[in-house]
């Protein structure tokens, strides 16, 4: 039989299959359905398990512990896997590491340069929440919490070594708990194509960023889409400087080679400012990955893919090390980085209330050594530059969403994982009925049911070419939203602080 005849027969067979309404084979989808079927039955009975083992099937990890959590009351428990509704919307979830509510238009800090997030805040259907709070001020516990909608008290996760698949233990030799459904896992079970990249969970907690529970394998036409899990760029060694000076990257000359806390990632308040293209920065590469994934999802939809997508992108900056491009630092002249209003630590606060942590920069604000205004200003300036850099990369992603005409059918959620100190110790305990809100971050003098704060007398939708100094709202004349503060609340304590030392301080 000639080659022409073979081709003709194939064409005829394909035409018959098309006329009969058969769908083309989709190996990725088939595999995912098999996976979902497998993961969707976390509770195999012993008989089922034995039968599956006899058949030579690779079994899904079985749950080792039941979790009953009131915070999941809105969910029907372990629902069966379902197809997404016909009119289901896409979801783009953007998590930014260590981002303070310190943006230009959205949060009223006019000296910040955040044009992309300004445009996002102004776009139709966007709501900015001025009083949003993380459950805990630590990356991994916070991420475990919001990704599962469970309080840290419920998960018992308070450090970076545990995750919800292992329920507060450091053991890795046990099977992961498959009874908890984090956000992407839930969307995947409900018929979504789900992709993720960057710091969504704490890196590799859960193991492999919760592959295969949370993420789909790929798109029909785009092929396999791997979780973006590049190594975050560590700053190289800073250039030398005269003894006792602040070196080019803000590292103290007289301290240990790794930095003032001995952490090898610590390069100090100046970060490591480099002149190199965007795609060489972690967040630049993540933005590119997100754009490629959006395009792959769009391409599939053009060729008949019915499933909506859920894409999560976790940007690393402004988390340390502050590896950022020079042009973003240049946006903030040194004169604009005025020192924090309350640079001193609250009087009477126990030393153990402040933990340097591994990031190092925090130690430069520590209570163990005098605060240096020069360092403080340098820290704030570099942090602001990182915020502007992240704003730029997020802007690229949001712009692509518009170019692909996906904007009108996509929910976009953007948030930080917890707050960040930039040298503010908080006011000392003052004689008053209650605490006062943060002097530099509070959106309005009175965070009660007040109308929108006016952050700037003449706000502009565009970044200010000559930024004004940091706004310094007047202290709140009204009681704070929390009428009964915890007596040990550092920096915002009652008139007579009664510091009862936590357990860690007693040893």
């Amino acid at each position: 039989m000639s080659r022409c005849t073979c081709v003709a027969l194939l064409i005829v067979a394909a035409a018959h299959a098309w006329q009969a309404g058969e769908e083309p084979r989709d190996e990725l989808r088939d595999k995912e359905q098999r996976d979902n079927t497998k993961w969707g039955k976390p509770h195999l009975t012993p008989a089922e398990r034995k039968e599956a083992e006899r058949a030579g099937e690779v079994l899904a990890p079985q749950p080792t512990k039941e979790v009953v959590d009131a915070s999941m009351r809105d969910f029907p428990g372990v629902a069966p896997m379902a197809a997404a509704p016909d009119d289901a919307k896409n979801v783009l979830m953007i998590v930014v590491d260590d981002l303070r509510p310190q943006l230009h238009l959205a949060y009223g800090h006019s000296f910040m340069k955040t044009p992309a997030l300004d445009e996002f805040a102004l776009s139709k259907g966007t709501v900015t929440f001025t009083r949003a709070y993380a459950q805990v001020a630590h990356c991994a516990p916070s991420r475990n919490s919001f990704m599962t909608s469970r309080y840290p008290d419920s998960l018992k996760i308070w450090n970076v070594n545990a995750d919800f698949r292992n329920l507060g233990t450091r053991r890795t030799d046990r099977e992961p708990n498959a009874q908890i459904f984090p956000i992407p896992h839930w969307f995947k079970r409900n018929g979504y194509l789900v992709f993720g990249g960057g710091k969504i969970y704490h890196p590799n907690h859960p193991s492999e960023n919760d592959k295969p529970f949370s993420w789909s394998d790929g798109t029909k036409l785009g092929g396999k889409i791997r979780y973006f899990n590049d190594h975050d760029h560590d700053c190289p060694s800073p250039p030398p400087g005269p003894p006792g000076s602040i070196r080019a990257w803000g590292q103290e000359e007289t301290t240990t080679p790794g930095g003032s806390d001995g952490d090898t990632n610590h390069v100090g308040c100046g970060g490591c400012v480099e002149d190199k293209p965007d795609y060489e920065f972690y967040d630049g590469r993540l933005a590119n990955w997100t754009i490629r994934t959006l395009r792959a999802a769009k391409q599939d939809r053009l060729y008949g893919e019915k499933r909506p997508f859920f894409i999560a992108a976790g940007f690393r900056r402004p988390h340390t090390p502050w590896n950022v491009a020079q042009r973003f630092v240049d946006m903030y002249p040194a004169a604009t980085t005025e020192p924090p209003k309350h640079p001193s630590w609250a009087e009477g606060a126990p030393e153990c209330a402040f933990v340097c942590g591994g990031d190092g920069v925090g130690c430069d604000f520590g209570i163990k050594k005098p605060r240096q205004t020069e360092w403080s200003n340098l820290c704030r300036r570099t942090y602001y530059a990182c915020v502007s850099a992240t704003d730029h990369y997020i802007g690229e992603v949001l712009a692509e969403l518009g170019r692909l005409e996906l904007k009108k059918n996509t929910v976009v959620a953007l948030f930080g994982d917890h707050g960040w100190h930039l040298g503010e110790g908080g006011p000392n305990p003052s004689p008053g009925p209650g605490p006062s809100p943060s002097p530099s971050l509070s959106p309005s003098p009175s965070p009660s049911l007040s109308p929108s704060p006016s952050p700037s007398p003449h706000p502009s939708p565009h970044p200010h070419p000559h930024p004004s100094p940091s706004p310094s709202p007047s202290p709140s004349p009204n009681p704070s939203p929390n009428p009964s503060p915890h007596p040990n609340q550092v920096g915002f304590g009652p008139s007579t602080p009664t510091w009862s030392l936590p357990h860690a301080c007693r040893s």
Partner: protein
């Protein structure tokens, strides 16, 4: 507390009208918080900052999960 735990949070659902946005905000906590929202996208005479719709409702990051789930079904179950 404010410095350590307060975070930015912005959610966009472009197909929602201002009224539906209000409805969503009300539903988020299962209560009425109508007076706790300011700003409108449609007020052309307002300054840029005033055109940002802000909710001063107290929310936690654990609210994001159920909100995303509800947002995707809001069109079918208003």
């Amino acid at each position: 507390m404010e410095l350590a735990t307060r975070v930015p949070l912005m959610i966009r659902a472009p197909w929602l009208t201002d009224g539906q946005t209000q409805h969503l905000l009300d539903r988020m906590r299962g209560e009425k918080f109508g007076q706790n929202v300011s700003g409108t996208h449609n007020n052309a005479s307002a300054t840029a900052a005033d055109r940002v719709i802000r909710s001063h409702t107290f929310v936690e990051l654990v609210d994001i999960y159920p909100t995303l789930v509800r947002l995707r079904t809001l069109a079918t179950h208003p």
